[in-house]
């Protein structure tokens, strides 16, 4: 085997220029994929980092049946929210676990009306993990016993033309179908630099939400904040057995469209990258066809020395694969350079915050990552396509008759 490897390695460098050109083609293909992967990862980070902070935690616990109706924020109280909080806090990775009530409503003033998400929170317990509470620009934070007080974002305050101390009307439904209307006083305004998010997220104290929605002593959600992004799966797995009858989900479940958008785009990108690599593969094919032709005599000698046709064709396939792998190595360097530069510069997406709910979570610029998470799969694709490109020349080489090939001048 090591003999074949050595032979193939020497063979591909016999005409180093043409090999290098094809290596460049493969490298460009791989670098393009790394660029894409890095962009997607950077995009996810930009969105998810903020998503966790806006959602109040990496993990959300709801009553069974919540997710299927999540877009309507149903008022489904948890059976025993105290037990959920206790179980969550017992996990070492958990920073905070707080009870919430989430629902939708209409906030209106004389200036206009806005459909908003209303979140009842335990203000003191959430302070450490709630981004809004950490960015108060006017007035003060909520406290646990604030009634008729509302904490809104700057985006909404600007749009509605209200300031701290002004009153706005909040309309929502209670558990028993009838609408509840309440006039509330703005106690504080937060600023996250994400106007679209601020416009649809307002906070009240949990006790106020309980009385507003007939949920005395109850809550609809427990938000669990973790020390680090990426610990979700482990914590969820640890919590599930002890908490039957609850839907325990990572924050990603709140953005199903983001997942499906990324999955579709990733699929399209996979197909494109295969087509691109096939084009580069034609380069390998032509190169090896040429090599077979040039080395006719040599192949004859190998055959005369007793190398089986199968072994000769294996040698050529090895050469094709090797060119591909050198391409991978060069491509990795190229990809790292491109992504490294983009990590410094960043890409500006702020103009597109209005396009989707998840785009609104991007503050300022998006910084791509190194793009190496899928590298193994990408490199494998390159190797396989390179090997396949070598099949036709390899068959050609194997079909030569030693005696004839030797006579070839």
């Amino acid at each position: 085997m090591s003999l074949y490897l050595r032979l193939a390695w020497r063979n591909i460098w016999r005409h180093s220029r043409r090999t290098l050109i094809i290596v460049l083609a493969m490298a460009l293909g791989l670098a393009l994929m790394m660029f894409y992967d890095g962009l997607v990862a950077g995009f996810n980070q930009a969105i998810y980092g903020n998503a966790i902070k806006v959602l109040g935690g990496n993990i959300q616990v709801h009553a069974v049946g919540y997710r299927s109706e999540a877009s309507q924020t149903p008022l489904l109280p948890l059976n025993d929210d105290g037990a959920v909080v206790k179980a969550a806090l017992a996990q070492p990775q958990v920073v905070a676990a707080t009870r919430r009530i989430t629902t939708g409503g209409l906030a209106s003033s004389r200036e206009g009306a806005f459909a908003v998400g209303i979140t009842g929170i335990e203000p003191e317990k959430e302070l450490e993990v709630n981004l809004a509470e950490q960015h108060v620009v006017a007035g003060r934070n909520l406290t646990a016993d604030d009634g008729d007080m509302i904490f809104i974002g700057k985006g909404l305050a600007d749009a509605m033309g209200v300031q701290v101390g002004d009153r706005i009307t909040l309309t929502g439904r209670s558990k028993h179908e009838q609408m509840r209307r309440r006039t509330m006083t703005v106690v504080g305004i937060y600023d996250l630099g994400m106007a679209d998010i601020e416009k649809r997220t307002i906070y009240v104290s949990l006790s106020e939400a309980q009385s507003l929605y007939d949920l005395t002593g109850q809550s609809t959600e427990v938000a669990i904040a973790l020390k680090q992004l990426g610990q979700e799966a482990a914590v969820i797995a640890a919590l599930r057995p002890g908490l039957p009858g609850y839907e325990i989900e990572s924050f990603e479940a709140n953005y199903p469209e983001l997942q499906s958008a990324l999955a579709t785009k990733g699929g399209v990108m996979n197909i494109f990258s295969i087509v691109i690599l096939m084009i580069a593969g034609i380069g390998i094919l032509n190169l090896l066809l040429m090599a077979v032709y040039e080395r006719t005599r040599e192949i004859g000698v190998l055959g005369a020395l007793g190398l089986k046709p199968r072994q000769i064709s294996f040698l050529f396939i090895l050469e094709g694969t090797m060119i591909g792998l050198v391409g991978v190595a060069v491509g990795i360097v190229l990809g790292l350079v491109i992504n490294g530069i983009l990590m410094q510069v960043g890409l500006d997406y702020s103009a597109f915050s209005g396009v989707t709910s998840y785009m609104a979570l991007i503050t300022g610029r998006v910084y791509p990552s190194w793009g190496v998470d899928k590298l193994l799969m990408r490199a494998l694709t390159v190797a396989i396509i390179s090997a396949l490109a070598a099949v036709i020349p390899a068959r050609e080489a194997a079909q030569r008759e030693p005696a004839e090939a030797l006579h070839y001048v």
């Binding site: 660029f35 004389r110 200036e111 309309t171 579709t264 087509v275 066809l289």
Partner: protein
């Protein structure tokens, strides 16, 4: 010149398989570029068209102080006697239809579920509402004097589990800053194949919308469709007045244009890389054929062929490869694009609400894109031939003649 191409053609024919594969590389590259370009055109072209049809129109005339982001219903932000104003606008020659609409924010609730919506008060008889009427999937369209019926989108109906005849509670903001709540019956369910629109838009007859919001005889906007969008500017200047602001479809759909520009920006990086890879394949093929023919080149130059002419011969080869590749690419790309133009590419729900993108994208290949990309492919292939051609032209005749076969 003709002789040169004849020679080039024969030389390519000496190794047909290799020439075919090189042309195929160009063809595959071109086909891919055509598909990408037509996809972007299809996605955003359709987005602008749906937006014009469904929500922006070609023009909208609003009160000077109206602020779209607030959906204000204050009387001073609205247009008085909208029917009269609409009739006036409709009398202009390039205008196809002009109809008043009233916008409000609202909140639909049923049982334990609720959803924020926007309310369009429309004149059910106006032909501008044809897209909604034609999109009716069940029930009936609204009538002008319907006082209890609403028309809701299929996505909203699915989310809330509603069907025709069901009762809903609708809360709507009013002109005096209050919120009014009334029960309604789902009269019909429509679908525009655009989830971002269907999920949040609820229709009421204009008269009922005016009553519930206490806007009285006022509307938020006059929605105008033109016979030809090229006449937009002419109509805008005709409508200019002290009391109104006139918004054009281009202004209202700025976000789509920006998003398209961004997408095209990314695509041009993609184009360059694809063409770059194609170029390397061509360079390599030609370098190999230069080497193969070293002796021949020596003979040619010994016979008195000038270096320039040898170079021209190899450039002729690469341009023939380019033409062959382009033909292959146009056939291959044309077939793939034709398939996706007919059957579309299903993308499902991307959660896009800011711009109206349908759940299926139909590719659109414009002549301009085809010509630009074809020229790009040709130029890149020709440029790729430059280096091998120069190599061939610089060979010393004597040395080349001595070269081993």
């Amino acid at each position: 010149m003709i002789q040169l191409f004849k020679m080039a053609f024969r030389d390519l024919g000496r190794n047909r398989r290799r020439s075919f594969f090189s042309a195929l590389a160009v063809g595959m590259g071109l086909a891919m570029l055509l598909l990408l370009a037509s996809f972007i055109k299809g996605e955003y072209g359709a987005a602008i068209e749906s937006s014009i049809r469904l929500q922006s129109g070609h023009l909208q005339v609003r009160a000077k102080s109206y602020d779209e982001s607030k959906t204000s219903l204050k009387w001073e932000d609205l247009i008085e006697n909208p029917d009269q104003v609409a009739a006036q606008i409709a009398s202009l020659n390039p205008v196809q239809v002009a109809t008043p609409r009233l916008f409000a924010s609202g909140f639909v609730s049923t049982g334990n579920e609720s959803a924020g919506v926007r309310i369009f008060g429309i004149d059910p008889l106006s032909e501008a509402n044809a897209p909604y009427r034609e999109g009716l999937v069940s029930g009936d369209f609204l009538t002008p004097d319907d006082r209890e019926g609403v028309l809701i989108g299929r996505r909203l109906a699915d989310n809330l589990g509603l069907s025709v005849g069901d009762q809903i509670n609708l809360s709507v903001n009013t002109s005096n800053g209050d919120v009014d709540e009334q029960p309604f019956t789902v009269r019909g369910i429509y679908s525009t194949q655009t989830g971002g629109f269907d999920g949040i838009t609820v229709f009421l007859p204009l008269a009922k919308a005016q009553a519930i919001t206490q806007a009285e005889n006022r509307a938020s906007t006059i929605f105008v469709l033109l016979k030809d969008s090229a006449q937009t500017d002419a109509v805008v200047s005709a409508l200019q007045g002290p009391n109104y602001q006139v918004l054009t479809w281009a202004k209202m759909n700025e976000l789509i244009v920006q998003t398209e520009d961004l997408a095209s920006g990314y695509m041009s990086i993609f184009y360059l890389i694809v063409l770059g890879i194609t170029a390397t394949v061509i360079i390599n093929t030609l370098i190999m054929s230069v080497f193969e023919r070293t002796r021949e080149i020596g003979v040619l130059s010994a016979l008195g062929m000038k270096g320039r002419r040898i170079m021209a011969m190899f450039l002729a080869e690469s341009s023939l490869l380019a033409v062959g590749g382009i033909i292959l690419g146009l056939i291959l790309g044309g077939l793939v694009v034709a398939y996706f133009t007919k059957y579309g590419f299903f993308i499902g729900n991307f959660g896009v609400t800011g711009i109206l993108i349908g759940d299926t994208i139909y590719t659109r290949l414009t002549l301009k894109d085809t010509v630009t990309l074809t020229i790009m492919a040709f130029v890149v292939t020709l440029l790729a031939g430059l280096y091998p051609a120069m190599m061939a032209s610089r060979m010393e005749p004597v040395e080349a003649l001595r070269a081993e076969k």
